[in-house]
């Protein structure tokens, strides 16, 4: 048996080449290579493309009149796109390596933390950019709160049901939140239905985001797909 057929992660060679050719010290180059390989293994470049697609959807929605007025109905499309970005972020927690990576990856928690926070920031930035120069109901503050909170739900579900299926929980929460929007619920746990300056809603969203990031940082997405030799579906 030879190692000729072993596949390398997409982009690994590119990253290696770029780092090796530069004047960086070996330790820094190694760290950067580790980060790059981790990003590639989590499909972060594709995730950024997905986030950009959601931002483009926001821009299109505002331009083509999918978001009209300031009522509950007008918040549905932005909420869906916010849930879409949260789903994409949650799915990046899926690891293709499982136990071997956990056993050897000393920097893994920091990498997970960095990816979760950076992607959430990128999602907020991209959606805000998509909504720029147009009147979005509830404004950018609501984007920050909703994306962070729903991403927290996605990260928590990644820790429970696995990263690959973690998109389901943000979708389910969105359905309930839409109902809360239409029915005028006042509980802060359905934060998309609350005004952007509502302190209780912001605290709830922040707590859920912090919990999601903490759990994913410490444990990562659940690896049951590998544990049972294939997983469902």
């Amino acid at each position: 048996m030879t190692a000729a057929g072993v596949r390398e992660p997409r982009g690994a060679r590119r990253g290696q080449g770029a780092l090796a050719s530069g004047p960086l010290p070996a330790r820094t180059a190694g760290a950067l290579r580790l980060v790059w390989l981790h990003l590639v293994s989590r499909r972060v470049p594709a995730a950024l493309a997905g986030l950009a697609a959601c931002a483009a959807g926001m821009r299109a929605g505002l331009a083509w009149g999918w978001v009209q007025g300031s009522g509950a109905g007008a918040q549905q499309v932005p909420l869906l796109l916010e849930a879409g970005t949260a789903s994409v972020i949650a799915v990046t927690t899926y690891s293709p390596f499982g136990e071997p990576e956990r056993a050897t990856g000393r920097w893994l928690p920091w990498l997970r933390l960095g990816i979760s926070v950076a992607l959430t920031g990128a999602a907020i930035g991209m959606l805000a950019a998509g909504a720029a120069a147009a009147r979005l109901p509830d404004g950018t503050l609501a984007i920050v709160r909703n994306v962070a909170g729903i991403t927290g739900i996605g990260l928590l579900s990644a820790a429970i049901i696995g990263g690959a299926l973690a998109w389901i929980a943000p979708m389910a929460y969105t359905v309930v939140a839409e109902f809360a929007l239409l029915e005028g619920w006042t509980t802060p746990w359905t934060w998309p239905g609350r005004p952007p300056h509502d302190r209780g809603a912001a605290i709830c969203a922040a707590v859920v985001f912090a919990a999601g990031v903490a759990v994913v940082t410490a444990r990562g997405g659940r690896d049951w797909v590998h544990a049972d030799g294939g997983g469902a579906g």
Binding site: G50, Q76, L80, I168, M171, A172, V176, F179, G233
Partner: protein, 502 residues
């Protein structure tokens, strides 16, 4: 043993194998784990909205495309896409490609299991909704077309999602498919008739003219028109079939020349069905009681449904409603009673009140208060005919119903300028009409000023109208009554100015 018996045994074994494969897929389907979420979505969304409606069959059934299909389609598409990525995700494609069973059948079994679970959950939710409605409804039976359309919609989105998973296998395929499906349901606000092909557009939005595509009392006074549901079912089934056909043509489906030929036939048949449905929908026009597609329209559907009215009395005035709304007869009689007593004895005062069908064309072109308004006072002896307005559930809803009915009756009695067709120039006596309406409604409607006398951009009446209302309202009831008896004709014709009011 003959060749024929061998062939029969082989065919039986093949079917048994297919059944076993399907059973395995059903037992291993990811959708099983999503069923509790579907139940939660149904309870929070579709069931609560349906329960808020009066127990009238079509009204309740309209929540199926509006909410249930919307929620379920996101999960159906997402989980189907996830299932479609399976071979790629597990890197088992090379192992399953050489198996004797064609890839199309293998993939089809996985898709069928996912779709089967979604449909089972959907039908269970329909059973709950219809079961509750059957207990509460006082007339009619369950409409099956909304159920059929939504089932076809779920099959279509599931097939498209599965195809997306097979063709573009990636970890982001499933979430993005789910989001796009939800966006499709929320964002389509097109004036094009082709937008009606997706059922949630039909249920949740209106077309260019601002008309509801189907009146809220469809299936009560007139038959629920199946024209659009037939076209929608044909379109969605065609799209689903075409997606499955394309699946058979994909590289991962494998198969020989015969299977590919069959896949081509299925794809073409699906596209033909979808194209035909789209062509038919392009000829659709808005009818008084729903969307009419000439090629699919049955003239028998236009005939009204006979019914024995449910009646009650308020003094000498008979109030009759459709038996489907029997539960609201006491509310309607109680709401109209004070207005009927106020105008009793005046020329043109109604001696009978009848609930009428909502005619979406007439109510929109008459310039009435809303698309559902269309109340008429006329005939000999005079009768007030009103379509049932929409109202929210609970005590607040009952109060709003009473307020709307009182206002409709008063507007019809005074022949308010709001009953004029759009573009018609009102006579100069509109402020006097508004003043009389306000004064007559004020004793039992605290919002009368805002509803009938306020300007378009204000919650209060103009100072001149307010002064005239104070003057007219200060008169004893008998004096007001005798002035109205003498001047009602001129007031209705718009020939009374504010200064001429006593």
């Amino acid at each position: 043993m003959t060749t024929a018996s061998l062939s029969l045994r082989s065919r039986r074994r093949s079917w048994a194998g297919a059944g076993r494969l399907l059973r395995l897929e059903f037992r291993r389907s990811t959708m099983i784990w999503v069923l509790p979420l579907l139940a939660v979505a149904f309870w929070f969304d579709a069931y609560h909205f349906a329960d808020a409606n009066p127990p009238v069959w079509y009204l309740r059934a309209s929540e199926l495309p509006n909410h249930l299909l919307r929620d379920f389609s996101a999960f159906a598409a997402g989980v189907a896409a996830w299932t479609g990525t399976r071979d790629s995700r597990r890197r088992t494609l090379d192992m399953v490609m050489p198996t004797p069973r064609p890839g199309w059948a293998r993939l089809g079994a996985a898709w069928a299991a996912t779709t089967g679970w979604v449909l089972a959950a959907y039908l269970a939710c329909v059973a709950v909704l219809y079961g509750v409605t059957a207990v509460q409804a006082t007339w009619g039976g369950p409409p099956w077309w909304p159920v059929t359309v939504c089932a076809a919609g779920l099959v279509a989105v599931s097939a498209i999602g599965f195809l997306a998973g097979v063709l573009v296998p990636g970890r982001f395929t499933a979430p993005l498919t789910a989001v796009i499906t939800l966006l499709l349901s929320s964002a389509i606000r097109s004036a094009s008739p082709y937008a009606m092909l997706w059922p949630t557009t039909n249920a949740s939005t209106t077309n260019t003219g601002g008309l509801p595509l189907t009146p809220s009392d469809a299936g009560v006074f007139h038959h629920y028109l199946p024209d659009l549901p037939i076209a929608q079912t044909m379109f969605l089934a065609g799209i689903g079939l075409a997606a499955l056909g394309v699946l058979g043509l994909s590289r991962v489906a494998g198969g020989g020349r015969r299977l590919r030929a069959a896949a081509v036939v299925v794809t073409v048949a699906g596209l033909a069905a979808a194209g035909t449905a789209a062509g038919l929908t392009g000829t659709a026009r808005q009818g008084a009681y729903g969307v009419v597609i000439p090629a699919l329209h049955d003239a028998a559907s236009d005939r009204p449904i006979p019914y024995p009215p449910a009646c009650d009395h308020d003094g000498a005035v008979l109030v009759c409603m459709h038996p489907a709304y029997r539960a609201y007869l006491a509310d309607v009689t109680g709401a109209l009673g004070p207005v009927l007593r106020e105008v009793a004895g005046l020329p043109g005062a109604p001696v009978r009140v009848d609930q009428a069908a909502t005619d979406v064309l007439a109510s929109a072109t008459s310039g009435a208060l809303s698309a559902e308004a269309g109340s008429v006072l006329g005939g000999s002896p005079p009768a007030f005919r009103f379509p049932m307005p929409s109202f929210p559930p609970g005590a607040a809803g009952h109060a709003q119903l009473a307020e709307d009915l009182q206002e409709d009756l008063m507007v019809a009695f005074v022949n308010d300028a709001r009953l004029l067709p759009p573009g018609a120039q009102p006579a100069g006596g509109v402020p006097a009409q508004e003043t009389v309406e306000w004064v007559l409604l004020q004793p039992f409607d605290p919002w009368a000023e805002q509803d009938v006398a306020a300007g378009p951009d204000s919650d209060t009446a103009s100072p001149a109208v307010a002064a005239a209302a104070r003057r007219f309202g200060a008169l004893p009831a008998a004096a007001r009554h005798s002035w109205l008896a003498a001047h009602l004709g001129a007031l209705r014709a718009g020939r009374v100015s504010l200064g001429q009011l006593p």
